[in-house]
C-alpha cells in the first residue's frame, strides 16, 4: 500500500479514534460508581472523544473523489467532529469548575452564566451544515475555512483558558487542590492546537485524546489509593502520606482512631460515618477493622466533636467501636507524631 500525504495527515485521526476507544474500555472496566459526578463527566468526555475520533476515521477512509456524491455525509461527519470537540471543551470546563469547587450546586448556579458561550460553541457547527459560515468545500473539494471560523476557534480556546485561569486562582487560595492536576490535560491540548495551527495538519484530536487519557489515568491512580470495601484511603496512601509529613508538606496535627469490635462490619461502619467526616480530613483504613482520621488541625474542639459524631453514628448503626484521639503538641515533630501514633501491622 502506498503511503501518501492524505494518509499521513489522517494518521492522527486513526490514533485519536483508537485511543478514544481504549479509554472507553478502561472506563467501562474500572469505573465503580456512576453516581460519582466526576465519572459521569469523564464518560461524557470520552464519548465525545470517541465520536470525534471515529467520525474522523470514517472521513479519512472516504476516498477524496467521492466527496462530491457523499457531500452531505461528509459535512455531517465534519459537523459531528466539531460538535464533539465543543462538547469536550464544555465538559472540560465544567469538570474544572466541579473539581475546583466540589459543588454540583455551584456549577448549576453558574450554568446560565456560561450557557450563551455553550450555545455558540455547539450550535454554530450545526448551523454550518446549512450555511457554510465556518468551513466549506471549495470547487477543488478541499476544506476551506472562513475568518469567522478562526474567531470561533479562538473563542473555543478562550473558553478553555478561562477554566485554567479559574483553576490557578483557586490553587492560589486553597492548598488542598494538590490532587487535581489540570496540566495533564491542558498541555497535550495546547500542543495539539499549536501544531494544528502552524503545520496545517490535524493534531488536535490526537493530543486532545492523550490529554483525556492522562486525566483518566490520574483518576484511576487515585482509585488505586482507595480501599474497595470502605471507600476510604488504604495503606498505600498512608505510605505516600508519611512522605508528605516527613518533608513538611502535610502538617499532621491530630489523629482520631476507630477500632471496630467486629472486623466484618467495615462497609456498614463506613456507610454510617461517611456523612459526619469533614472534607478537610482524610480517613484511612489501616487494618482490618481499624481506621484513622487525620487532620492538619490540632483544635481539640473539632477532635471532640468528630469523636462524638462517629461514636453516635456507629451506635445508631448498631456497631461497637472504640474511639481514641490525640493532638500533636506544638513542639512535637509531625513525622514523630505520625510514627508514634499510627501503628500499622507489617
Amino acid at each position: 500500500m502506498d503511503i501518501n500525504a492524505d494518509m499521513i495527515v489522517n494518521i492522527d485521526l486513526y490514533a485519536g479514534a483508537l485511543l478514544a476507544l481504549s479509554g472507553v474500555l478502561f472506563m467501562a472496566l474500572r469505573t465503580t460508581s456512576l453516581k460519582d459526578i466526576r465519572s459521569k463527566l469523564l464518560i461524557s468526555l470520552l464519548t465525545a472523544a470517541i465520536v470525534s475520533g471515529v467520525s474522523g476515521l470514517v472521513l479519512s477512509l472516504l476516498p477524496a473523489a467521492q466527496y462530491d456524491s457523499l457531500g452531505l455525509l461528509v459535512r455531517f461527519l465534519d459537523m459531528l467532529i466539531e460538535v464533539a470537540i465543543n462538547v469536550q471543551l464544555i465538559v472540560i470546563f465544567f469538570y474544572i469548575l466541579y473539581e475546583i469547587f466540589k459543588s454540583a450546586d455551584y456549577v448549576k448556579r453558574k450554568f446560565f452564566k456560561y450557557i450563551i458561550p455553550e450555545v455558540i460553541l455547539v450550535l454554530l457547527p450545526v448551523l454550518n451544515v446549512f450555511t457554510n459560515i465556518l468551513w466549506y468545500y471549495d470547487e477543488n473539494h478541499e476544506l476551506s475555512y472562513s475568518y469567522l471560523y478562526m474567531a470561533y476557534t479562538i473563542f473555543r480556546y478562550a473558553f478553555l483558558i478561562a477554566g485554567v485561569a479559574l483553576y490557578l486562582r483557586f490553587k492560589s487560595q486553597e492548598k488542598n487542590a494538590r490532587r487535581f492536576n489540570i496540566w495533564l490535560l491542558v498541555i497535550p491540548m495546547l500542543i495539539g492546537t499549536f501544531s494544528e495551527s502552524f503545520t496545517g495538519y490535524g493534531a488536535w484530536m490526537l493530543f486532545g485524546t492523550i490529554g483525556y487519557t492522562n486525566l483518566y489515568i490520574l483518576v484511576a491512580s487515585e482509585m488505586g489509593y482507595r480501599d474497595h470495601e470502605s471507600g476510604f484511603f488504604n495503606r498505600h496512601y498512608l505510605k505516600q502520606l508519611y512522605g508528605l509529613v516527613d518533608n513538611g508538606t502535610y502538617q499532621l496535627s491530630s489523629i482520631i482512631t476507630y477500632k471496630l469490635a467486629d472486623d466484618s462490619a467495615v462497609e456498614k461502619f463506613a456507610d454510617a460515618i461517611r456523612s459526619v467526616l469533614p472534607d478537610e480530613c482524610d480517613t484511612i483504613r489501616i487494618d482490618a477493622g481499624k481506621f484513622v482520621t487525620i487532620s492538619e488541625s490540632a483544635d481539640r474542639g473539632y477532635v471532640f466533636m468528630l469523636s462524638e459524631d462517629v461514636a453516635m453514628m456507629a451506635e445508631e448503626a448498631g456497631l461497637e467501636v472504640t474511639v481514641d484521639s490525640i493532638t500533636r503538641d506544638k513542639n512535637e515533630i509531625p513525622a514523630d507524631f505520625f510514627i508514634d501514633n499510627i501503628r500499622i501491622k507489617r
Binding site: 455551584y106 448556579r109 456523612s275 469533614p278 488541625s297 473539632y302 471532640f304 466533636m305 459524631d309
Partner: protein
C-alpha cells in the same frame, strides 16, 4: 466565709449576683465561677471568668467577666481563690473590662494594669439595623435559609469545618454548644449540596438580648453569601423583635472591628476601664 465553685447545677442560687444571662452561661464549658458564702449558705460575693485558648495551641488566658461582693475583703478572697484556679488551669494572662472606676481601681491594687478606652462590645437596638448599608429588599435565593431549617448533623458538620479552619467567632466553646444554644429562627445560613457553607449564629439571651456570635462563610461565593445571610437575619429581626431589643456585638478581633466599622460607621462602644495581669 467560704469560697465554693459555681456550677451549672447551683448557678441559679446566685442569680441575684450573676443575673439571668450569666446563670445560663455557667453551663458553658469554659465558664467558671466562684462564690463567697457564709455558714448559712448566703452568698456575699461572686467572681466569674471565662478561659480562652484552651483548645488550641495558643496560651490560655482568662477574661474576668464579673466580680462583685459586699465588701473589698470578700472580693479579695475571691481573687485569691481565682489565682489558685488560674494557676491550675495554666492561665498565662488575666484581663478584665468594667464600666465602674472602683472595680478598675480594685483590680489595679491586685496587680492589674489599668487603662481606659472603648469597649469591645458595641450595643445597638434592632431598630438601628434598618440603617445598615445593605439591600434588604433583594430577593433571597432558596439556598439562604434560617438555621431552623437545617439539621443538627448539617450544623455540626459546618462547625467542624469552621474549627478546622480556625474560626470560632466570639464563641470559645463553639465545639461544645448544642445547636439549641443559638436562636435558630433569627440565625441564617447558606446551603450548598446539602452542606452549610456560611452562617450567622445569633444567641438570644434569657434577658432578651441578641448576640451575633459567629459570622463566616466558605466557598467560591462566600462574599455574596455573607451579604445574603446578613440580610436574611436582619429582616427577620426587624419583623419579629421589638425595636428596642438590644443587639450586642462583641468585636473580638480586627476583622470584626473593620466589618462593624463598615456596617455601622460612626457607632462606638462605651467608655470602659480595662487591664491585664500576667499570672
Amino acid at each position: 466565709m467560704k469560697i465554693i465553685e459555681i456550677t451549672k447545677e447551683n448557678a441559679e442560687d446566685f442569680q441575684d449576683f450573676l443575673g439571668e444571662d450569666l446563670v445560663a452561661d455557667m453551663s458553658r464549658t469554659f465558664f467558671n465561677g466562684l462564690a463567697a458564702t457564709d455558714d448559712s449558705g448566703t452568698c456575699h460575693g461572686v467572681l466569674v471568668y471565662e478561659l480562652l485558648g484552651v483548645d488550641s495551641d495558643d496560651d490560655t488566658s482568662s477574661r474576668i467577666r464579673l466580680i462583685a461582693g459586699d465588701d473589698e475583703e470578700i472580693k479579695a478572697s475571691l481573687q485569691d481563690e481565682y489565682r489558685k484556679a488560674a494557676s491550675e488551669a495554666d492561665v498565662g494572662k488575666s484581663f478584665f473590662e468594667t464600666s465602674e472606676s472602683e472595680v478598675a481601681s480594685f483590680f489595679e491594687k491586685l496587680g492589674f494594669s489599668k487603662s481606659s478606652g472603648e469597649s469591645m462590645e458595641l450595643t445597638i437596638t434592632v431598630s438601628e439595623l434598618e440603617k445598615l448599608p445593605i439591600k434588604r429588599d433583594v430577593k433571597l435565593p432558596d439556598y439562604i435559609q434560617s438555621l431552623a431549617d437545617v439539621s443538627v448533623i448539617q450544623y455540626r458538620n459546618f462547625v467542624k469545618k469552621a474549627l478546622i479552619k480556625g474560626t470560632k467567632g466570639a464563641v470559645e466553646d463553639l465545639a461544645y454548644l448544642p445547636l439549641s444554644w443559638f436562636k435558630r429562627e433569627v440565625s441564617s445560613c447558606s446551603v450548598s449540596d446539602d452542606k452549610i457553607d456560611g452562617v450567622l449564629l445569633i444567641r438570644e439571651t434569657p434577658s432578651g438580648e441578641l448576640h451575633p456570635l459567629l459570622y463566616t462563610a466558605y466557598g467560591p461565593d462566600f462574599v455574596k453569601n455573607l451579604s445574603l445571610i446578613l440580610i436574611n437575619s436582619v429582616n427577620y429581626a426587624l419583623e419579629n423583635y421589638p425595636p428596642d431589643t438590644k443587639v450586642v456585638i462583641y468585636r473580638h478581633d480586627k476583622k470584626v472591628l473593620m466589618l462593624v466599622h463598615k456596617l455601622l460607621a460612626g457607632y462606638k462602644g462605651s467608655e470602659i476601664y480595662m487591664g491585664t495581669r500576667e499570672e
